[in-house]
C-alpha cells in the first residue's frame, strides 16, 4: 500500500537520503538550475571583488555605451554606470529579498496550515478563514497597495512579499494533512498512543515535505518576480541602489535607445527564476516516494 511506502519514507535512513540526493543530481535540468543559481549567487556575493567598477560611479561622457566597450563589457546605462557591475550588485538585492520572503512564506504557511488541519475546531475555522480572506486579494494588488505606503527597504519588501504570499503553502499543507489524517497509518500511530506533536513531526511533516519544498522554491521564484515588478513601477528598491527590477524602470524607452540595457536585467530575472523552478521540479522528482515507485516499476 501507499501508506506503507509513505511511513517507510518517514524514517529517513542515510542510504535513503543519499539516494534521494543522487536522484536529484541525476535530474539534469535541476542540476543546471543549481549551477546557474550557484553562479548568480557567487557573482552577487562576490560583487565587491568581481565588479570592475563602483556601482554608483557616474560617467556622463560614456552614456549608453554599447556592450563590449573597453572597460564596460556589458556597456553602460543612461548615467554611464557600468551595467555588469550594477547587475552583480542588483543580484545581491534581488536574491536576498527572494530568499527572505520565501522563508517568511514557508514558516507562516506551514504554521497556519498544519495547526488548522490538525487541530480542527475553532482554530481551523479562524485560521482557514483568515487564509481565505487573504487569498481573495490578488497578491500584486495587495503588495502594491502596501508598498506604496511603506518606506521601502530590503527587509520591509521581503516581509511584505512574504506576508502576502504564505496562503498558498498554508492551503497545500492543510489539504495534504486533511487527506493524511484520515489515512490508516496515522490512525495506527494514534492507536498505539503516539502524542499529537509526535504524529505531526514524525508522520505528517515528512509526508508534506515534498510539496512544501516544491512550493518553497516556486515561492522563491515568485518573490523575485514580485520584487522586480514593484521595483519596476518604482515602489520597491529605490535608486541609486540597483535591483534587477528597478534597472528596468526605463525599459520602455531603453528599448528604443539601447535595447541591451532593457534586455540584460530581464534575462537575469528570467535565469534566476527559471533555475529555482527547475530545482523545485527536481526536488519533487527526488523526494516523492510514489514517483520513486513508478520509476522503479510501472511502465511510463
Amino acid at each position: 500500500m501507499v501508506d506503507a511506502a509513505a511511513s517507510e519514507a518517514a524514517l529517513p535512513s542515510p542510504a535513503r537520503r543519499s539516494s534521494a540526493l543522487r536522484r536529484f543530481f541525476r535530474h539534469r535540468l535541476a542540476a543546471i538550475g543549481m549551477f546557474v543559481i550557484a553562479v548568480l549567487a557567487i557573482g552577487a556575493a562576490g560583487a565587491p571583488w568581481l565588479a570592475p567598477h563602483d556601482p554608483d560611479e557616474i560617467d556622463i561622457s560614456l552614456r549608453y555605451a554599447p556592450p563590449l566597450t573597453p572597460g564596460h563589457i556589458l556597456g553602460s546605462d543612461d548615467l554611464g554606470r557600468d551595467v555588469l557591475t550594477r547587475l552583480l550588485y542588483a543580484g545581491q538585492v534581488s536574491l536576498s529579498v527572494g530568499a527572505a520572503a520565501m522563508l517568511v512564506t514557508v514558516i507562516v504557511g506551514f504554521a497556519v496550515g498544519a495547526s488548522a488541519a490538525y487541530h480542527g475546531g475553532w482554530i481551523n475555522v479562524v485560521l482557514m478563514r483568515l487564509t481565505d480572506v487573504m487569498l481573495c486579494f490578488p497578491s500584486v494588488f495587495l503588495l502594491l497597495f502596501v508598498a506604496a505606503f511603506v518606506t521601502p527597504s530590503l527587509a520591509s519588501i521581503a516581509l511584505m512579499i512574504g506576508l502576502t504570499c504564505w496562503m498558498e503553502i498554508a492551503r497545500i499543507v492543510y489539504a495534504q494533512i486533511l487527506v493524511l489524517k484520515s489515512s490508516d497509518f496515522i490512525a495506527a500511530a494514534r492507536m498505539v498512543g503516539a502524542p499529537s506533536w509526535r504524529i505531526i513531526v514524525r508522520q505528517i511533516l515528512p509526508n508534506t515535505l515534498a510539496p512544501i519544498f516544491v512550493a518553497a522554491t516556486l515561492n522563491m521564484a515568485n518573490a523575485i518576480l514580485l520584487e522586480s515588478y514593484i521595483s519596476y513601477l518604482g515602489y520597491g528598491i529605490q535608486p541609486p541602489a540597483a535591483s534587477w527590477g528597478n534597472m528596468l524602470t526605463n525599459a520602455q524607452s531603453d528599448f528604443q535607445v539601447d535595447p541591451m540595457l532593457a534586455i540584460l536585467p530581464g534575462l537575469a530575472i528570467t535565469l534566476a527564476v527559471t533555475s529555482f523552478n527547475l530545482i523545485g521540479d527536481g526536488l519533487r522528482d527526488a523526494l516523492d516516494p510514489r514517483m520513486r515507485e513508478r520509476a522503479a516499476g510501472a511502465p511510463p
Binding site: 481565505d132 486533511l178 525599459a251
Partner: protein, 318 residues
C-alpha cells in the same frame, strides 16, 4: 448538498466582510492614511485639511467611517474620487468590461492549451516531449510578465510593425478586426504564463495519480490505457486542479493588472496603478473589493466542484 451550498454562500459573505475590514484597516493604518496627499503637501494649510476631512467624512470615528463605507459598498454608493470628484462606481465599472475581455479570452485559451500539454507530458513522462514542454513552460513561468510584454511590444510593434503596441482600438476606427488586432499581444502575453501554470499543474497532478496503486490495478486488469487515463486518472486529477483554478484567480487578476499597465489596456489594473500614484483611496478600495469579489466567487465555485468530485473531502458543516 443544499445545506452545504448555503453554508458556503454564507462563508463567502463572511469572507467579503473580512476582505473589506482588512482593506479598510490597511488604508487607515498606512502612514499618512487616506489624507496622505494633502497632509504631505506643504502648500496645503491646516484649515484646508480640516475642510477636506469634513467634506469626505474623515473627521468621524473609524468605525462610523467603515460602516458608512461598507453600507455604501452594498448599496452601490462607492464614494467619489479624490480627483475630479467623479463617482467611483462609474470610474471603476467603466473599466470592468475591458478587464473581463482580456481575462476571459486569456483564461479560455490557456485552459485548453495548458491541460492538453499537461496530459501529454504526464503520459509521456521523461520523454523528449515532456522535457521540451517542461523547459518551455518553466521559461514562460519565469519570465517577468511586464518585461515579456515590453519585449513583445519592441519586437512585434516597434520593430516589425505587425501589431499595435497598446490600447483596445485605433483612434481612427474601431471595427472588429481592429479590436482583435489590439487583443493579440496582451492576450498572448497573459495566457503564456497561464498555459505554463496549467500544463505544470495538470502534469504533476496527473503524475501523482498515475503512481497510485489503483492505477496499477486498473492496468493489471487489462483495461485499455486510454480508459485508465480518462476514467480513472484524469477524473481523480480533476479535484486538485479545480482547487488550483480557484487559487489561480488572484494570479489571473494580478497578471491582468501587470499586462494592462504594459499595454495601456484601459482596464481596472491600469486604473489601479494610476490611482496608486495619486493615493486616490476610494478608487483603490473599490478595485480591491471588485477584485476580491471575483476571487470569492471563483473559490466558491471551486469548492463546490471539489466536494462533488472528491469523496475523500469531508463536508464539515462549521
Amino acid at each position: 448538498m443544499l445545506r452545504f451550498l448555503l453554508n458556503r454562500l454564507l462563508q463567502s459573505v463572511v469572507l467579503l466582510l473580512g476582505v473589506s475590514v482588512i482593506g479598510f484597516a490597511l488604508m487607515h493604518l498606512a502612514p499618512g492614511g487616506p489624507m496622505a496627499l494633502y497632509t504631505l503637501n506643504p502648500t496645503v494649510t491646516a484649515q484646508d485639511i480640516e475642510r477636506v476631512k469634513v467634506l469626505f467624512g474623515l473627521d468621524q470615528p473609524v468605525y462610523v467611517q467603515y460602516l458608512k463605507w461598507a453600507g455604501g459598498m452594498f448599496t452601490g454608493n462607492w464614494g467619489y474620487s479624490f480627483f475630479g470628484g467623479q463617482q467611483v462606481r462609474e470610474i471603476v465599472l467603466d473599466r470592468l468590461p475591458a478587464t473581463l475581455e482580456l481575462m476571459g479570452t486569456s483564461l479560455l485559451l490557456a485552459l485548453v492549451i495548458g491541460v492538453a500539454i499537461g496530459v501529454v507530458s504526464a503520459v509521456r513522462h521523461n520523454s523528449i516531449v515532456d522535457y521540451v514542454s517542461a523547459v518551455a513552460a518553466m521559461i514562460a513561468l519565469s519570465l517577468p510578465t511586464f518585461w515579456f510584454g515590453l519585449l513583445a511590444i519592441y519586437l512585434f510593434a516597434q520593430t516589425l510593425h505587425w501589431l499595435p503596441a497598446g490600447g483596445t482600438a485605433s483612434t481612427s476606427g474601431g471595427d472588429l478586426f481592429d479590436r482583435l488586432r489590439h487583443l493579440v499581444l496582451p492576450v498572448a502575453v497573459l495566457s503564456f504564463v497561464l498555459v505554463a501554470q496549467w500544463s505544470r499543474y495538470t502534469r504533476s497532478s496527473l503524475l501523482d495519480i498515475l503512481g497510485q496503486d489503483y492505477i496499477r490495478t486498473a492496468r493489471a486488469k487489462g483495461l485499455r490505457p486510454s480508459r485508465v487515463l480518462l476514467n480513472h486518472a484524469l477524473r481523480a486529477a480533476l479535484a486538485p486542479l479545480t482547487t488550483l483554478a480557484g487559487l489561480q484567480l488572484p494570479l489571473l487578476v494580478g497578471g491582468a493588472l501587470v499586462t494592462e499597465t504594459v499595454f495601456s489596456w484601459p482596464g481596472m489594473g491600469l486604473l489601479f496603478v494610476n490611482a496608486l500614484g495619486m493615493r486616490d483611496y476610494p478608487v483603490l478600495m473599490a478595485i480591491l473589493m471588485v477584485g476580491a469579489f471575483v476571487v470569492v466567487l471563483g473559490n466558491l465555485l471551486a469548492d463546490v466542484v471539489v466536494a462533488l468530485v472528491d469523496p475523500r473531502v469531508k463536508l464539515e458543516h462549521g
